[in-house]
Every structure is written in structure tokens, then in C-alpha cells.
């Protein structure tokens, strides 16, 4: 047991000692973490920025989707290491060498989610929008896109975790944030503390990012039904058949009483 504790404290000591060594910007843990987050977030944002218009276009012109999907899937099959090296002649050792391939991977993961999200708008909602006098573009932007947000964010969660873990691979071309700890500090020197610190911080970064995405979904889509909670409530509240589909019971407990007063006998 003591051996484990010793090992853990040795790792922690190493992390503290190397957290942000003054004068040695390149080798500190903190600068690597910042670099990792920067590479990952920029890639995700660029991937999202590309996936949205591409997805909208694929929904608007349905014949576009099969070839586009095949195209991006082929890209996904190319190993990331290969892509990083292919980028080198064009972008050198700048951040773009890591960002361009990673953004492409994000795009591949997100595109089907954007398209499926836009397509899952119920037919009666879409038809109502047409009948209200929405033009095709306005309908896409103000009805179908907001309704697709939960599905898009679900895709973003997968894409962000994948990207955050893949940034480390870019350490092979001299980038890679926390990947540098794992590769150059740990692997080459047969020293396990930097490897452990690199892995733990990568996982923490992925978790925090995921939590931020979940939070932003709650804020962006207050209208989404939280199914699990609702069903339990529905069983507890004994409401008449007509009202059964009603009522987030918790939101307004007086509701069923109000509607049962007979002024509108059909309300209950």
C-alpha cells in the first residue's frame, strides 16, 4: 500500500515542481495544458463552423448528402499521424498543422448529427411552418436549426472528447500540448510521472469540456423535455385522461384545479 502512496506523491511532486518553471516556458505542465486546450478548442470550433453550413446545404439539397458523407468518411479513415505529416510542408510547425486535421475529424463526426438533427423535426411542425408562410431559408434557420440543437450538441460532446484525446498525437510533429509530456518527457526518458500527469490532465480537460457543453445545452434549449423526471411526475400526479399528456406538474401545481372548474369543461 505504501508503495502506491509513494508513487502517487512522487508524481504529484514532479507535477508541482514542473508546473510553470520560470524561464523554461516550453517545458512546464501549465503551458502544455494551455496549448492543448487551445489546439483542441480551435479545432472543435472550426469543425463546427464548417459542419453547420455544410449540414444545412445537405438538408436543403438532399442529393448533396451521400457524396459529401462518403467524402468526409474517407478522410476519417486516413490515420491522424499521416495527416499531420502531410500538413507539415504547407504549415510548418505552426498550430495549423494540428488544427486543420483535427478540425476535419470534428467535421466528420458532426456532419451526420447536424443533418439528422435538422431532419428529425416532426413533419407536422415543418408543415405548419410552411403553412404559416415561412420561406425555405427562414424555416431552416428559425425552426429547424433550433430544434436540431440537442442533436448537434450530442455530436459536439463526442467530437470534443475525441479531439481532446487526439491532440496528443500531434506531439509527433512537435505540437500536441499534454502529448509532449507523454512523448518527449516520459517515453523517451523512461520516466512515468509526466506520462501520468499528461493522461490525468487530458481526462480532466475532456470532462470539464463535456460539462460545459451539457450546461450550454441546458441554457440554449430550455424547451427540451427532461423525460425521466417528467414520467415520474406524471405517475405521481393523478390527472384525468384528457389532461394526462399535460402538465409539467411541478411547474404549476394549481393547474389541474384551475382547469377543472367547469368554466371550460373541455379543458380537463
Amino acid at each position: 500500500m505504501n508503495a502506491v502512496w509513494d508513487w502517487i506523491s512522487a508524481v504529484a511532486d514532479w507535477a508541482a515542481a514542473n508546473w510553470n518553471p520560470p524561464g523554461d516556458q516550453e517545458r512546464g505542465v501549465w503551458p502544455r495544458l494551455v496549448e492543448h486546450a487551445r489546439l483542441a478548442y480551435l479545432s472543435i470550433l472550426i469543425g463546427l463552423a464548417a459542419a453547420l453550413p455544410l449540414g444545412l446545404a445537405c438538408v436543403r439539397w438532399t442529393r448533396l448528402y451521400p457524396p459529401v458523407l462518403t467524402g468526409v468518411n474517407v478522410l476519417y479513415a486516413v490515420p491522424s499521424i499521416a495527416l499531420f505529416f502531410l500538413m507539415l510542408p504547407y504549415t510548418g510547425f505552426s498550430d495549423w498543422t494540428a488544427i486543420v486535421p483535427l478540425a476535419l475529424y470534428t467535421l466528420v463526426i458532426l456532419l451526420p448529427n447536424v443533418v439528422d438533427g435538422l431532419r428529425q423535426v416532426p413533419d407536422h411542425v415543418r408543415q405548419a411552418a410552411v403553412a404559416m408562410g415561412f420561406g425555405p431559408l427562414r424555416r431552416l434557420l428559425t425552426v429547424e436549426t433550433p430544434v436540431a440543437v440537442p442533436v448537434i450538441i450530442a455530436g459536439l460532446r463526442v467530437a470534443s472528447v475525441a479531439t481532446i484525446s487526439m491532440v496528443s498525437v500531434a506531439s509527433l510533429v512537435g505540437l500536441g500540448g499534454l502529448g509532449q509530456l507523454i512523448l518527449s518527457e516520459g517515453f523517451r526518458r523512461q520516466f512515468d510521472a509526466p506520462i501520468v500527469v499528461g493522461i490525468v490532465l487530458t481526462v480532466v480537460l475532456a470532462f470539464v469540456t463535456d460539462a460545459l457543453l451539457v450546461l450550454s445545452q441546458r441554457l440554449l434549449t430550455p424547451w427540451v423535455r427532461r423525460d425521466g423526471r417528467r414520467r415520474k411526475r406524471k405517475q405521481r400526479a393523478a390527472v384525468p385522461a384528457g389532461e394526462a399528456a399535460a402538465v409539467d406538474a411541478g411547474a404549476d401545481p394549481t393547474q389541474s384545479a384551475e382547469t377543472g372548474n367547469g368554466a371550460h369543461p373541455w379543458m380537463s
Binding site: 416532426p122 407536422h124 411542425v125 408543415q127 405548419a128 411552418a129 410552411v130 403553412a131 404559416m132 408562410g133 415561412f134 420561406g135 425552426v143 433550433p146 430544434v147 440543437v149 434549449t221 430550455p222 424547451w223 423535455r225 385522461a241 384528457g242 389532461e243 394526462a244 399528456a245 399535460a246 402538465v247 409539467d248 411547474a251 404549476d252 393547474q255 384551475e258 382547469t259 368554466a263 371550460h264 369543461p265 373541455w266 379543458m267
Partner: protein
């Protein structure tokens, strides 16, 4: 006024959705398109706001071909209610209702004020304004759908099976509400349903569509029930159309008997005097407010102790009553058929007994209107 002139819809694979429809929908009235599924009623409805383009023929609104107008602009001037309401899940009730006013460029505050006004007229609580559609029952969602269609005060309202996804009790309520609104607003309503009972309740005029998208009959509900033009219409209406037609005759002309009403304070002896004069086999016991208590069998009354108060007897349940002022002969007949005494109890709006009518008297009344 909406005019269909030989409007037809043929699909490339040869199916005929609508086979040349000639029909005029009068302004300010409710016209119902009814028929089995696949009879082209919804397709015809959608020609009006250009959601479906006829392959031949034209549709005119107030004499103007709908194709001469920009589709989005045309649709904003025609209210539309769809089955399952079609509410936008990401918008609150208030913003759903304000949709068309906002598209028309009203200011947000004016659009919201209008939404609040409409929520009241369709019977929604103001507290529901900021809710999301999934927090409402099916019936409430459908009322939001109606409010949304009325928001910009369009002269025409298209309703595509609006009430078919809710349960029967809620549906009846929604129909009542539509009738009330329509009496007030006098819109040109075009209503599609597959339910002939709904068509008869709602419609001023009914168009029955047959298989193959053919218009089988276009008539008033009463004419439809009395004179179906062919076997298809007759079987579509159903075998009990004779009884259903009675719904068009008010019950207030029935001759009600008051001489068989007994006070629950009376003794058996006094009651026997009353019923012997009337010569009827059943009498109805009422309380001091003339609320019905139950039937008493005159033969059994003779065997009761003469000093007993009627209120202490075990009475036979009077079943359901009919409102003399508001109900029809159909309701009166139904009450009489279901009553163990074979007699229906007619009441005023407060439920006080005005008199009773026997099946035989009802039969005469029905004979005289047929």
C-alpha cells in the same frame, strides 16, 4: 369565397388524388370536407394555400387565382390548423401564437399583446403564456394551434383534421369552442375530417368525398341525412342517420306532462289521488326546488302504507335528463329510451323539472317532423 374550378391532382405514377373538383365555399360559413382516407379531402384543402399545386384547374380566393400571389404572402393571409397542432417545440405558447404577426413585421410587443388576447378567447390561462408546447395536454396544444391560426385575423381558416388526435371528450369540447368562436368571428372556415359526426356538428355545408377523389355530395347537414345521393354516401353516413337527423329539431315543442309530478313531502294517499287523475303507470317524485328525485311505479305505490311520505320510498333512478330549451329531439329520445320508466325528464337550464314525456308522445312528435 373560395372557388374550386375543375381542380385536379394527378400524380406521375397515375394515382388520382383529386379528380376535378368544382365547388364554392361560401364566405363566413363553415364548410366541411369529409370522406374516407385517400379521398382527396386534405389535398383539396391544401390547394387553397398552395401547399399543393393542382395539375389542372384553378382555385380562386375572392375571385383571384391563388397562383397569382407569392406563396409565403398568401399563406400568411390564411390561417392554418394542422393535426397534432404542429406547434414549434422551441417557442413558448405566446411566441407560437405570435408567429404570423411577427412574420408580418408587427412589433414584438404588439404581437405579444395580440397573443394574450387570443389565449383568452380560446380559453387558455394567462399563466400558460410562457410554457412550452410539451407542457400542455393535447387539447390545450390544439387550442394554441387555433389561436396561432387566428393571430393575424385572416378571413379564411383552413383546418386539417385538427381534432382527430385528441380523446373524444376533449374533442367534443374543442368542437363546442370552435362553434362558439365561429358564431363570434364569422370566418370562412374550411374543415377537413374523416368523422361524419364531427362534420354534421361543425358544418354549415358538407362536401362528402368518395374514393378516387370524387366529390359525392355537397349539401347542408340536414339534406345529407335525409337525402343521401347514392349508396356510398348513405353507407358513409351510417345506418342510424334517421335518428341523427333528429338532432336538427329542438325539443322545446314537445308537449310535456306536468300532472305526473309528485312532491316528496306528499303522502302516498295524496299521491294516489294525483296519479289516478293522470292515469299514467309511472310518476316522477321531485323535491321542493323541483329537482328530480326518481320514478315511482304507480302499481307498487298502491301497496305502500297510505300515510308514508314519498321521500321515504325507494325510487327508481331517473337516468339522464334533457334540457328543454337547448337540447334536440335526439337527446330527448335518447333519454326516454334509456329511462327505466320509458319516459324522459325535461329540465330547465338549472336542472329543475319542467315535465316528462313518454316514448309514445315522442314518437308522435318525431312522426310530425319527418
Amino acid at each position: 369565397m373560395i372557388t374550386f374550378e375543375g381542380a385536379a391532382k394527378h400524380y406521375p405514377d397515375g394515382t388520382v388524388a383529386v379528380a376535378g373538383l368544382d365547388l364554392t365555399v361560401e364566405s363566413g360559413r363553415t364548410t366541411v370536407f369529409v370522406g374516407p382516407s385517400g379521398s382527396g379531402k386534405t389535398t383539396s384543402l391544401r390547394m387553397v394555400n398552395r401547399m399543393v399545386a393542382p395539375t389542372s384547374g384553378t382555385v380562386l380566393v375572392d375571385g383571384e387565382d391563388v397562383r397569382s400571389q407569392d406563396p409565403a404572402r398568401l399563406r400568411r393571409s390564411i390561417g392554418y390548423v394542422i393535426q397534432q397542432a404542429g406547434l414549434f417545440p422551441h417557442r413558448t405558447v405566446r411566441d407560437n401564437i405570435a408567429t404570423v404577426p411577427l412574420l408580418l413585421g408587427w412589433g414584438r410587443s404588439r404581437a405579444r399583446a395580440r397573443a394574450a388576447e387570443l389565449m383568452e378567447s380560446v380559453g387558455l390561462e394567462p399563466s400558460q403564456a410562457k410554457r412550452y408546447p410539451h407542457q400542455l395536454s393535447g387539447g390545450q396544444q390544439q387550442r394554441v394551434g387555433v389561436a396561432r391560426a387566428l393571430a393575424a385575423d385572416p378571413p379564411i381558416l383552413l383546418m386539417d383534421e385538427p381534432f382527430s388526435a385528441v380523446d373524444p371528450v376533449v374533442r367534443t369540447g374543442l368542437q363546442d369552442e370552435l362553434l362558439r368562436l365561429q358564431a363570434e368571428l364569422r370566418k370562412t372556415v374550411l374543415f377537413v375530417t374523416h368523422d361524419i359526426d364531427e362534420a354534421i356538428r361543425i358544418g354549415d355545408r358538407i362536401a362528402v368525398f368518395g374514393p378516387g377523389g370524387e366529390l359525392a355530395q355537397y349539401d347542408t347537414p340536414e339534406r345529407l341525412l335525409t337525402h343521401p345521393v347514392d349508396d356510398f354516401v348513405e353507407s358513409f353516413i351510417g345506418y342510424d342517420r334517421g335518428v341523427r337527423r333528429l338532432a336538427f329539431f329542438p325539443a322545446n315543442e314537445l308537449a310535456l306532462r306536468e300532472d305526473v309530478l309528485l312532491d316528496d313531502q306528499d303522502t302516498v294517499e295524496r299521491a294516489l289521488n294525483t296519479v289516478d287523475t293522470a292515469g299514467q303507470p309511472w310518476a316522477l317524485v321531485v323535491d321542493a326546488q323541483r329537482m328530480p328525485l326518481g320514478w315511482v311505479d304507480v302499481d307498487r305505490l298502491r301497496h305502500e302504507p297510505s300515510g308514508l311520505e314519498l321521500g321515504r320510498l325507494t325510487l327508481t333512478a331517473y337516468g339522464h335528463t334533457f334540457d328543454v330549451e337547448r337540447d334536440s329531439l335526439r337527446a330527448a329520445l335518447d333519454a326516454a329510451v334509456l329511462s327505466p320508466a320509458g319516459r324522459a325528464v325535461g329540465v330547465d337550464p338549472d336542472g329543475r323539472v319542467l315535465g316528462v314525456v313518454s316514448q309514445a308522445d315522442l314518437g308522435n312528435a318525431i312522426w310530425s317532423v319527418s
